[in-house]
Symmetry: C2
Subunit: 396 residues, 2 copies
């Protein structure tokens, strides 16, 4: 099992991209990553595209082959990888295994989604297609609905209040405001959204206890990475990133079937595998990107991954421990909450952010000083397919 | 790069399976392959599901996670792989790289498609979603339409007649009649379909020069394989199959952009790569499964792969060289033409057939005697993403 490096990273701003087709977005992000890797006119051995909705939303299939042609990467191998909201991470995994196996030397991984293709009901329904086709979907449950039920149980169990959730939302909007690739680039005004007399109107209940500002937006966007063998990475003569640990675990599709629905077993397992492979502990991580499609998830995951003891994640967020300058900065990118969550792109974008952090090339107001290690955790379904990566900076 | 074995194979009969859901079919084929591998209650490390249309046709996403739960394979890793009609081969490739990399010891690969979900127009449109979204799809071209244009050029260039195409169709229907998993289990009556006064009615033009009996049907179905390291395969104490060579190549998405549209460059390249890795020549292959969604393709591919010189494939088919007992038996399963073509399943089903051939466990009337080597070639888009596997029998 040989080591795998990340030598190129790029993305296009997430948000409303009505004028771009899905292929436009995938191509745009890909070209940035290829350019970052110094692959001006050089091809790659293989291409993995992460996407969930091309068939349903764009009425297109086989988009990976289409992209290989569009980017003049022929005759590179190409596939589309789908794993719900964790598709991007699964495509990075595909690249990792392709290079680790020795079959490929260089792989382009790109994730993208064009989600703002219909109205809000349409998008909510699209996300719901990952729920159980007999036990959930026909009853009308949505992802925010599942998250609301999870949040209620979790908050009761660990004595969390809305204040704990607000801390996550405020932090991620604040960081998103500093990230030119974020969908939301505006800090939250506490008075307007949480405390003032108009707050309940501006921040209405979506799925009790979750309100609008506990949810990620519906975004268009794409992000890309170039992976290679370490031999190739070394020759580039600049710092690069190594995939030091990888983990993945599945869980029951329905929340109702879990012995304790507040335990995110797949998160715990995936992180444990990644730490074991990397031979690191949670306290060794300098910066993390977690899957905060709902604020409660950032708190729960920060505990399952091992950054805080069970039940202590909410207080940690409230006390600023997950902010830039805290003990473990989480979602300095703005996270799904503010950067946005174009499904296929998210897992790739999480790693793009960590690559930038580990190469120390971000502006001072959002760079974790001297970051050497990073972690990403992505959440497919309602934590029924979770992937975790641990990344390390490497000198040439 | 360590060797990878196939230790389990199974499928469910292809055809009209109105009463089965997509998940039912995937689970049914998976259980047969797991059972064949002797994995009664043992889990696998990872699961790859090949499927194209779950989102568009079944309004479901993240089906790999769903299947992992359904089969009680938790916490096994799970992803869906899509590459149009070559999706099944791409999922086998994913399993191959997963085990070759050392990340996994055992992988379940299952491909399935529920295509007979709407009327014929709906299915034809579904297949057309893999065409170019600007240069082809809006103009109404269909896959049979592209194949018709290709056939006309190819037949003109190499002096082929309808008789050459009939030879493929007759052979594959004859073999399908012997395969209990085939969609069509009835030999073609020459008089009725090709020669008699009613032939033009019973075998109407679909896309000139291709007629109904030149096309594969629209099928439901699923097929599955269990892959493992060779260490595990050896311990089973019975013959198994090794993946000796793999190749994959992409080409332009539109046929019109190719310097010579009759050259299937991606087929030639993918096969060349697979032969190089296996260190074998075309004459070393004992049995092959080619992608005959259209009869003309079996002829063209039999040349590109290297079984016959360019332009000689039609005569070879007519003279029986591709029949059981000929110099290279092709599509003894009945091929896509008669076994059927549930898109996600096809690439997996091709390998299931070769595994059965190489383990010498088929009935005498469709077993290639003492077969030691096999080849599969699968065709995504209109030959814009092609995968080739070379398989070898191994003794424990």
């Amino acid at each position: 099992m040989r080591d795998v490096a990340i030598i190129g990273a790029g993305m296009i701003p997430f948000g409303r991209r009505y004028e771009d087709s899905l292929l436009d977005m995938l191509a745009g992000a890909s070209l940035k990553a290829l350019d970052d890797a110094g692959f001006g006119s050089q091809s790659v051995d293989a291409l993995y595209v992460a996407n969930v909705g091309a068939g349903m939303l764009q009425h297109q299939t086989a988009i990976a082959s289409s992209l290989a042609d569009r980017l003049s990467l022929l005759p590179a191998a190409a596939e589309t990888i789908e794993n719900g909201p964790a598709s991007g991470s699964s495509a990075v995994k595909a690249g990792l295994l392709g290079i680790a196996s020795g079959y490929y030397e260089t792989v382009l991984v790109v994730g993208g989604e064009k989600m703002r293709a219909g109205d809000g009901a349409h998008t909510t329904d699209f996300a719901s297609t990952m729920t159980h086709p007999q036990a959930e979907y026909p009853y009308g449950v949505t992802m925010p609905g599942l998250a609301g039920m999870f949040a209620r149980l979790y908050m009761d169990k660990y004595n969390l209040t809305a204040e704990h959730l607000h801390a996550v939302s405020i932090k991620n909007h604040e960081m998103g405001a500093l990230n030119p690739y974020a969908h939301f680039r505006k800090p939250i005004n506490r008075e307007e959204i949480f405390d003032g007399p108009q707050a309940a109107l501006r921040n209405p209940i979506v799925a009790d206890p979750l309100r609008l500002y506990d949810l990620c937006p519906t975004s268009d966007g794409a992000a890309a990475l170039v992976l290679s063998s370490v031999d190739i990475a070394r020759r580039l003569g600049r710092p690069y990133v190594v995939i030091a640990g990888f983990g993945q675990a599945t869980d029951t599709q329905t929340l109702a079937e879990r012995a304790d629905p507040t335990e995110l077993k797949a998160v715990t397992l995936a992180a444990r595998q990644a730490f074991a492979q990397a031979n690191l502990r949670p306290s060794d991580i300098h910066v993390a990107e977690l899957h905060d499609a709902f604020t409660i998830l950032e708190i729960a995951e920060s505990e399952c991954v091992g950054f805080f003891p069970k039940g202590a994640g909410g207080e940690a967020a409230l006390k600023g421990q997950t902010r830039l300058g805290g003990s473990i900065p989480i979602n300095v990118s703005g996270g799904l909450k503010a950067r946005g969550h174009p499904m296929g792109a998210t897992g790739v974008a999480q790693i793009v952010e960590i690559v930038w952090q580990l190469r120390h090339e971000l502006p001072e107001n959002r760079q974790v000083p001297n970051a050497q290690t990073g972690l990403t955790l992505n959440f497919g379904g309602f934590a029924n397919n979770v992937l975790c990566f641990i990344l390390k900076r490497a000198e040439p």
